[in-house]
């Protein structure tokens, strides 16, 4: 039965997360963008909400309530506060969800409790590679079986690398297709170089080089090629939700600015060119959000969501860019100044085409 209203529990979660985004995240988003990392305080505070923990298995101390719909609702609200910080506070899921879904019991016991301890421990997933023609389904990073071990070689980029990171999930191609490995950050042969990028600066990322990294077969998750494709779908849908949240933030601040800012003695919001631009923003944002919800609902029903994920991701990419660019326009000269939010929103979504799995559900 068609229904567009979040359940009571979901509504409560939205309310809580929105309040957090408004009171804790939004006020420090500029600081994080200039500093190149999120303030530790906000990350810890978010950790207390247990947003990721709540979706991890009860067996290891989690809430055991994994829901893609709830996940996208949370991602949108957090990203409404700030996309970079949202991805940072959700990063434990980059490690936790794959391990929970495809990790051996011992691996789960080794890793999951650590993600749900008293203080925040980030996670990371290395998917994207630094090539203009990178194809997420055909990584050039390889994993060669060598007896009871694997040998990993390749270069990854846009790998979240937050303070205190212990493990990173690396996607590579082995003889069975796509495969995922859990590596300790300190493992021999793994080196990192901090990345400078246009946006998402508040989320520190690295270029990750793997030269003959030797890991035991137990480090390989049981995820099949198909499983990892589904993981990519989950990532795209989650990221799309974050894009919707960013676009919504940009829409709201520019709407408010347009009502305050006066020219020729009238608020610029009374000019059709501005008013209609805002109207289109609102329409497109709602449209993209519904695509995201539909894709998430498909995930929760256990259906193949590849196509819906692609539609939601691509649509959000277009909408987020148009909306944030439009917000800069609405602000006029001030839109170009780092004192106001639109330029930050624009930078944060400009790389959407290659963000892929910067967050998971």
């Amino acid at each position: 039965m068609i229904d567009f209203e979040p359940g009571e529990e979901q509504a409560l979660i939205i309310e809580t997360v929105h309040a957090f985004a408004e009171n804790e995240i939004r006020p420090v988003c500029r600081e994080a963008d200039e500093a190149g990392e999120p303030p530790a305080s906000v990350v810890e505070a978010a950790h207390e909400l247990g947003l990721v923990a709540n979706s991890l298995p009860e067996a290891h101390g989690g809430g055991g309530e994994r829901s893609a719909i709830t996940g996208v609702l949370i991602a949108e609200e957090l990203a409404w506060g700030d996309m970079a910080i949202a991805l940072a506070v959700l990063s434990p899921g980059l490690l936790g969800y794959p391990v929970a879904d495809f990790g051996s019991d011992s691996l789960q016991s080794e890793i999951l409790p650590g993600l749900m301890g008293d203080s925040f421990v980030p996670g990371s997933l290395a998917m994207v590679e630094p090539r203009f023609d990178f194809d997420v389904l055909r990584p050039q990073t390889t994993a060669k079986k060598d007896g009871s071990e694997f040998l990993l070689d390749g270069v990854k980029c846009q790998v979240p690398w937050l303070e205190g990171l212990r493990h990173v999930v690396v996607i590579a191609a082995d003889d069975e297709g796509l495969a995922a490995f859990v590596l300790p950050c300190g493992i021999e042969g793994l080196s990192t170089e901090a990345e400078l990028k246009m946006g998402l600066i508040g989320l520190p990322t690295v270029e990750l080089t793997l030269s003959s990294v030797r890991v035991d077969a137990s480090a390989r998750l049981s995820a099949s090629d198909a499983d990892i494709r589904r993981m990519i779908d989950r990532g795209r849908i989650a990221l799309a939700a974050a894009g919707v949240g960013t676009a919504r933030a940009s829409f709201e601040v520019s709407r408010d600015y347009a009502k305050e800012r006066e020219t020729f003695g009238q608020p610029i919001a009374t000019r059709q060119a501005i008013a209609f631009k805002l109207a289109d923003m609102a329409i497109e944002i709602d449209g993209a959000r519904l695509l995201v919800w539909e894709a998430a609902a498909a995930l929760d029903r256990g259906e193949d969501a590849a196509r819906l994920a692609r539609l939601a991701y691509d649509q959000t990419m277009r909408v987020a860019l148009t909306v944030t660019d439009g917000a800069v326009q609405v602000y006029g000269g001030h839109g170009y100044i780092r004192e106001y939010l639109p330029e930050l929103h624009l930078r944060n979504v400009a790389g959407f085409a290659s963000f892929e799995t910067l967050t998971l559900l």
Partner: protein, 409 residues
């Protein structure tokens, strides 16, 4: 109660049923009545009157209410939007009566549409005037009350009246006419009146020659001392000087409310036309051995693949916005904003989708050997009637800015 995109059993049955109807009874005569503009599409009208309107009842199952109605509109307009608008139903006239009429009025004017047998009849709504455009307050058609005979006397001209030929000439049908009973009161003076078919003083001037939906009778009607009994007034005769959309005047508000109900349907109609084009394009591409790779990296896609994927996303966004607006009516929520969002998005999306499809198909897309060129012409109406793109943007803008109409025109 939580977010859910699964259609109910009844909705799925409806979808399947009306898709079949579209295939069996609309597509076969689609081109015929595009070429034979204004001719009554008897095959279709007779089918609907004699069978179609009853055909689904036995299949009844829990539906999604207004969403299911949108599904019907989408499937039938996937068949042919022009023929859909020519269906013998109360249409917008019915919506007006339901929204603003009393129980007696509903019974009096609508029951004929439920009776078996007889000849096909239509309902319609007449709002637009040669000078008024989308500006309801500028309506010049007048309604004067004759206290002696207790009748309202209508005078004026209406244009762009969809189904106006059928509704004005087939006995038993009716047209809801917007007129002012007090010009000085602006919108406050505007009321709607039910005028039965063939009422003396109502004259059918003719039908418009249009870009598309040529099977649809878009009529011009003249009212020359056209008398209707006072019972045919929908809502109260009281005139409020304040903008009635702010007051409880069920007359104008009710009339306006019909848009909140009809816009999602129009959006669904648009979606149907757009889907007709997109479905055909995808089938044709398959026939040509062109595959759409949803999992290929953006940088490896062909121009056509990206076009198709974008068109699918745009169409689905429009459809979901439409379903949301319709679902809100089920839930009894005010959907004025969401209905305009759906209408604005769907109208624009399918205009672009159908134009793009013609381009991609090249010479064959431009030829009348296929229906693609017709779908492009039909689709455009959705960007125009029931409030143009601009009108709906205006409504959305006022709502999101919380501006009264005076602040944003």
């Amino acid at each position: 109660m939580t977010i859910d995109f699964e259609l109910s059993e009844g909705s799925k049955l409806a979808q399947a049923h009306y898709h079949e109807v579209a295939l069996q009874h609309m597509r076969p005569v689609s081109r015929k009545y595009d070429l034979a503009e204004h001719q009554l599409p008897t095959e279709w009208v007779d089918y609907w009157w004699n069978e179609g309107r009853f055909a689904f009842q036995d299949k009844m199952a829990p539906t999604d209410g207004f969403v299911t109605i949108c599904l019907q509109a989408e499937e039938l307009c996937w068949g042919d939007a022009g023929l859909y608008l020519r269906m013998p139903t109360p249409a917008l006239g019915g919506s007006a009566v339901s929204a603003a009429g009393t129980a007696e009025q509903r019974k009096q004017f609508m029951s004929a549409f439920r009776e078996e047998g007889g000849h096909p009849i239509w309902g319609a709504m007449a709002i637009t005037e040669p000078q008024a455009g989308s500006d309801a307050a500028a309506i010049e058609t007048t309604a004067d009350f004759d206290a002696e005979t207790e009748e309202w006397i209508l005078n004026g001209t209406k244009i762009f009246c969809t189904a106006g030929e059928g509704a004005s000439t087939a006995d038993g049908g009716f047209i809801v006419v917007w007129a002012t009973i007090d010009k000085s009161a602006g919108r406050g003076g505007i009321k709607s009146f039910v005028v039965m078919a063939n009422t003396e003083g109502m004259e059918l001037i003719g039908c418009e020659k249009k870009l598309g939906i040529r099977a649809s009778d878009t009529a011009t009607l003249r009212f020359d001392n056209c008398r209707v009994p006072k019972e045919n007034l929908l809502g109260s005769a009281e005139v409020r000087k304040k903008d009635p959309s702010k007051t409880g005047d069920k007359g104008f508000k009710g009339a306006m409310a019909t848009f909140d109900a009809s816009r999602p349907i129009v959006a669904a109609m648009a979606t149907g036309v757009g889907r007709a084009a997109l479905d055909f394009l995808k089938e044709e591409l398959e026939r040509q051995g062109v595959e759409i790779r949803y999992d290929a990296p953006p940088r490896e896609l062909t121009a056509i693949e990206r076009d198709v994927i974008e068109m699918e996303a745009e169409l689905q966004a429009a459809r979901l916005l439409t379903w949301r607006a319709a679902w809100m009516m089920n839930a009894g929520k005010r959907n004025n904003l969401e209905a305009s969002m759906a209408k604005a998005k769907a109208g624009l999306a399918v205009t672009k989708i159908t134009q793009k499809t013609v381009q991609i198909l090249g010479p064959v897309g431009y030829s009348k050997k296929l229906l693609v060129e017709k779908w492009m012409r039909d689709a455009k109406i959705n960007d125009i009637y029931e409030g143009t793109q601009q009108i709906n943007q205006l409504i959305v803008a006022r709502r999101i800015l919380d501006y009264p109409s005076a602040m944003l025109r």
